[in-house]
């Protein structure tokens, strides 16, 4: 009897802590894919789901918010989401150019170079969307040690077609999108440190233990992403992703493409994260044969090998997953011409020899045997002025204006703070099978004020990449049009007219000297009294 009462007492003590854990699911996954150019693509995704949670209604922003008790969900991020009533948030910080032709589509679509932030927020009378957008930027810049605070009205747009809500649409308020990108932002350890602190096991256990900054930032391409979405049937989902494309051929001694977890990350998974409901490593097997993978796993499903690392499975930890090509002495790069892996390949350049005008040209190649319709989005800071009347669409030097439709252009508009918003160009391109479409337009380069130049003005200005996106499914369209995701072109570097920064000083010094000389002599002439001094002897 007494025993029972003690147990009941203990149970009562434990109830609040169990209540906290109810409805939070954490799972982690690592996808490894050997690529045809000898590189290895790795994608970590850490997903925390707050079951049944609903984004904050922006109309209730003036009132006291419900208390936030999270067991697995990061409180620092949760506070920001509640404070600014964010329904959906996507932040990516990437370095390098994603090579679509050789690497295919990434597992996470957001691979634009630099920082990209976009958020969907409900409109309300309490605070405007723009005020909350500014607060969100600053809060995230503090959280992730990135210069996101500079994503101001000079870089903010609302391209709703290319960046739709990926979750459900809440009914409580009409939603608005804010999107901004900063192509010159660098990514380094100070961004990874706060990223790891958002994980329930930090970097102590589970897959995150592999994330060694010295190796990740040495990769040919690396990037991290924070994605918060809301789905009506599950709740708020936080997905933290980290992608890196390693080059074992470069880093290994014998120019071989063999890889294992130890050689890629210089770390191993010592123990699994105890709060993870699932933890797995998935290896996507290459199409050609000749490889071997250890440890042997009988579970080959559709060219995938899945290793379950969660504590419930009988997988022995620590373990090393390795893939090697025993018959290959050193890796031979596949000979060109290579057919691109993705159906669309895009090249974007800016030509012109002068510092005042140039030509922006884009060539889009359809590698598939079907016709592809793609949305084309250009978000151009006011550094460049696009001239719409010079827009040309060509195939084999023949003008084909019929392939361009749905053209929308918003010229740069002056903002309240005397700055120009970016211009937005959106169009639909129809690319016939196995052809290359060329699109070009003339641009004018801005003449900036002396004080608007960055410290390294001679380096040039980074322009964000263009975005190609699949169009929303219409009723009569082919089914194949939606099997790809957004494509980002590499960023461009544009050379604007740069002043000689020492010139103002020269001018000031010269004019001051002249002034003193002229003024001084005239003053002297006017005020000096000319007298004859007689020297007494």
């Amino acid at each position: 009897m007494r025993r029972a009462s003690i147990w009941i007492f203990l149970a009562c003590l434990c109830i609040p802590s169990f209540a906290l854990y109810r409805g939070e699911i954490y799972s982690e996954d690592l996808r490894i894919q050997p690529l045809r150019d000898g590189r290895v693509s790795t994608t970590f995704s850490f997903i925390t789901v707050l079951e049944g949670a609903v984004p904050r209604n922006p109309k209730a922003l003036g009132q006291l918010d419900e208390s936030q008790h999270y067991a697995l969900f990061p409180l620092t991020l949760g506070q920001i989401l509640r404070e600014y009533a964010i329904t959906e948030l996507h932040l990516t910080l990437n370095a390098g150019k994603w090579n679509y032709d050789n690497w295919g589509h990434p597992h996470e679509a957001g691979v634009g170079t630099g920082a990209e932030l976009w958020a969907w927020m409900g409109a309300s009378e309490v605070t405007t969307v723009d005020e909350r957008w500014s607060g969100l930027r600053n809060a995230l810049s503090g959280l992730f040690c990135a210069s996101l605070g500079s994503l101001d009205s000079r870089r903010t747009l609302s391209p709703t077609v290319a960046f739709p809500l990926s979750g459900s649409t809440p009914t409580f308020a009409p939603h608005e999108l804010r999107h901004a990108s900063l192509p010159s932002e660098s990514v380094c350890t100070e961004n990874l440190t706060p990223f790891l602190k958002l994980l329930p096991c930090k970097s102590h256990a589970g897959l995150a233990a592999l994330l060694n900054p010295q190796k990740v930032f040495d990769a040919d391409w690396h990037g991290m992403g924070i994605h918060v979405t809301w789905k009506e049937d599950t709740g708020v989902e936080l997905k933290l992703t980290l992608q890196a494309v390693f080059n074992p051929v470069r880093t290994s001694a014998g120019k071989r493409r063999d890889w294992n977890l130890q050689s890629l990350f210089d770390r191993s998974i010592e123990r699994s994260c105890p709060v993870a409901s699932s933890s797995s490593v998935t290896v996507i097997l290459p199409e050609e044969k000749g490889y071997q993978i250890t440890p042997e796993n009988p579970a080959h499903i559709n060219g995938l090998v899945i290793y379950d690392l969660s504590s419930s499975s009988n997988f022995t930890i620590p373990s090393n997953i390795a893939m090697y090509w025993p018959s290959e002495h050193s890796f031979q790069y596949p000979l060109p011409p290579l057919t691109p892996v993705t159906p669309l390949s895009v090249k974007r350049t800016i030509h012109g020899t002068t510092q005042t005008r140039g030509v922006l040209s884009i060539s889009v190649t359809n590698n598939s045997p079907q016709e592809i319709s793609a949305g084309y989005l250009e978000m151009m800071p006011a550094l460049l002025t696009l001239w719409m009347h010079t827009l040309k669409v060509e195939i084999n030097s023949q003008i084909r204006s019929d392939l361009l439709s749905g053209l929308k252009y918003h010229p740069p508009s002056p903002q309240s703070n005397d700055r120009l918003s970016p211009s937005m160009l959106q169009a639909v391109l129809t690319i016939p099978p196995k052809t290359t479409l060329k699109l070009s337009m003339e641009v004018n380069k801005a003449f900036l004020k002396y004080t608007e130049h960055p410290p390294d003005a001679m380096r040039g200005w980074d322009l964000p990449g263009a975005v190609f996106f699949p169009l929303p499914q219409s009723s009569h369209d082919t089914s194949s049009s939606y099997d790809w995701e957004r494509i980002y072109t590499p960023t461009l570097l544009v050379d604007l007219p740069t002043p000689d920064f020492s010139m103002p000083y020269n001018v000031i010094i010269l004019s001051c000297t002249l002034m003193t000389l002229i003024f001084g002599s005239i003053f002297n002439l006017l005020t000096r009294k000319w007298v004859v001094v007689e020297i007494q002897e």
Binding site: N138, C145, S186, Q214, P454
Partner: protein, 396 residues
């Protein structure tokens, strides 16, 4: 059978313990002192309760690798000596760790052998790249920032904060260049410090600067409690210490190298004084004449610990009641002190003034009543525990 007498023994022990506790509680007069002795500061009279560090690398570009390494070396030192990341504002004007020219991605080294990675795996750079400007630096010091500025980018100091300000970059006579674009002058820094003093944003400042003609940078300061030191005197350059052949550029400046070398021997409980650090300066090794300015500083340098600026304070502060009643400014160390604030500006923190308001309730007759109530509670709890023990023994 053997344990049948155990409850009784327990009861006896408990009674003995209670008797001892009652007896010892009579000496309440000394508890306050003992608590103050246990929790209080054992420093050299600095009077600070928190430590902050502002570390600025003002130069951009890869060839200024050594300036980044200077600032990061200081970052590692203050972090090792106990200042948390939340109290360190690190400003790096360029990203050398993940620079395409850096062969060792994600690492910054400050010595030719590349033994110690200064970037590490846990680093928070608060201002980086284009954000490192003169405006942002002065806004940070004086606290004039946008309301939406995150906490990690603010200097949340008070009049009990000791601040270590370290700056490095390219400079000249009374100026330091930021990103090769703009300059901060010695007058700007002096005025910013004065504004901080008037806003009660610091208790003491250690200003350290490593640049050419560095000693001119603190020549204009006029606010109290500033201890300043620089790497080289007027018309004198500061030189780099050594190159690393794999990195390809100089990795650290000479002055900072010797300061960091001295700091290697310091730990959190070290009693080494600032005078010892200044005595370790060797102009022959440093290739320049480091300067010290202590005329604004009120404490003797040999009584000023290194850890007063480089270490984090971990002690709590115990205020005896009578001190609060007769509260006065903690800066009032007698009329002779040149740093004394005006007496009509009490600097007692807000928390303390609430205690002052609640004081009358504790004094007078209510004091006796409180003591009586304490006794009642004590004996009731003893009675309840005794009942429980006896109940358990009877049930057995």
């Amino acid at each position: 059978m053997r344990f049948q007498r155990l409850p009784q023994a327990c009861l006896l022990l408990l009674t003995c313990f209670m008797a001892w506790a009652v007896g010892s509680s009579d000496s309440t007069a000394s508890t306050g002192e003992r608590a103050a002795d246990f929790f209080g500061r054992h420093d050299s009279g600095s009077g600070h309760t928190n430590n902050w560090a502002v570390l600025v690398c003002a130069s951009r570009y890869w060839f200024n690798y050594r300036h980044m390494a200077n600032a990061l070396g200081m970052y590692r030192t203050v972090k090792r000596l106990g200042i948390p990341d939340s109290n360190i504002i690190l400003m790096l004007a360029d990203d050398v760790a993940c620079n395409a020219r850096n062969k060792f991605a994600g690492s910054v080294y400050a010595e030719a052998g590349r033994h110690l990675d200064l970037y590490g795996e846990n680093i928070e750079v608060d201002y980086r790249g284009y954000e490192v400007t003169v405006e942002n630096f002065i806004r940070l010091l004086t606290g004039r920032v946008d309301p939406s500025m995150p906490r990690s980018k603010r200097l949340l100091t008070d009049d009990r904060s000791n601040i270590f300000v370290y700056m490095t970059g390219h400079g000249g006579n009374e100026f330091l260049k930021f990103q090769d674009q703009e300059e901060i002058s010695a007058f700007d820094i002096a005025d910013a410090f004065e504004q901080m003093w008037q806003k009660k944003r610091y208790n003491e400042i250690l200003f350290m600067i490593d640049t050419c003609q560095a000693n001119t940078m603190y020549s204009q300061s006029y606010s109290p409690n500033i201890l300043a030191t620089g790497s080289s005197q007027i018309d004198e350059n500061s030189y780099s210490y050594e190159n690393d052949n794999d990195i390809g550029v100089s990795v650290i400046d000479s002055y900072t190298h010797y300061v960091l070398k001295f700091m290697e021997g310091i730990n959190k409980t070290s009693q080494t004084s600032m005078q010892d650090l200044f005595d370790s300066y060797d102009p022959v090794k440093i290739y320049s004449h480091p300067g010290i300015r202590s005329d604004l500083f009120r404490r003797p340098l040999d009584k000023t610990l290194i850890t007063d600026f480089f270490g984090g304070v971990a002690q709590a502060e115990v205020f005896p009641l009578q001190d609060i009643v007769g509260s006065s400014n903690h800066h009032d160390n007698g009329p002779s002190a040149p740093t004394t604030r005006k007496p009509d500006t009490p600097s007692v923190p807000v928390v303390l003034s609430t205690t002052v308001i609640s004081l009358p309730r504790l004094t007078g007759e209510t004091h006796d009543w409180d003591n009586w109530w304490k006794e009642v509670r004590k004996w009731t709890s003893i009675f309840v525990v005794g009942c429980l023990v006896s109940w358990i023994s009877f049930v057995r």
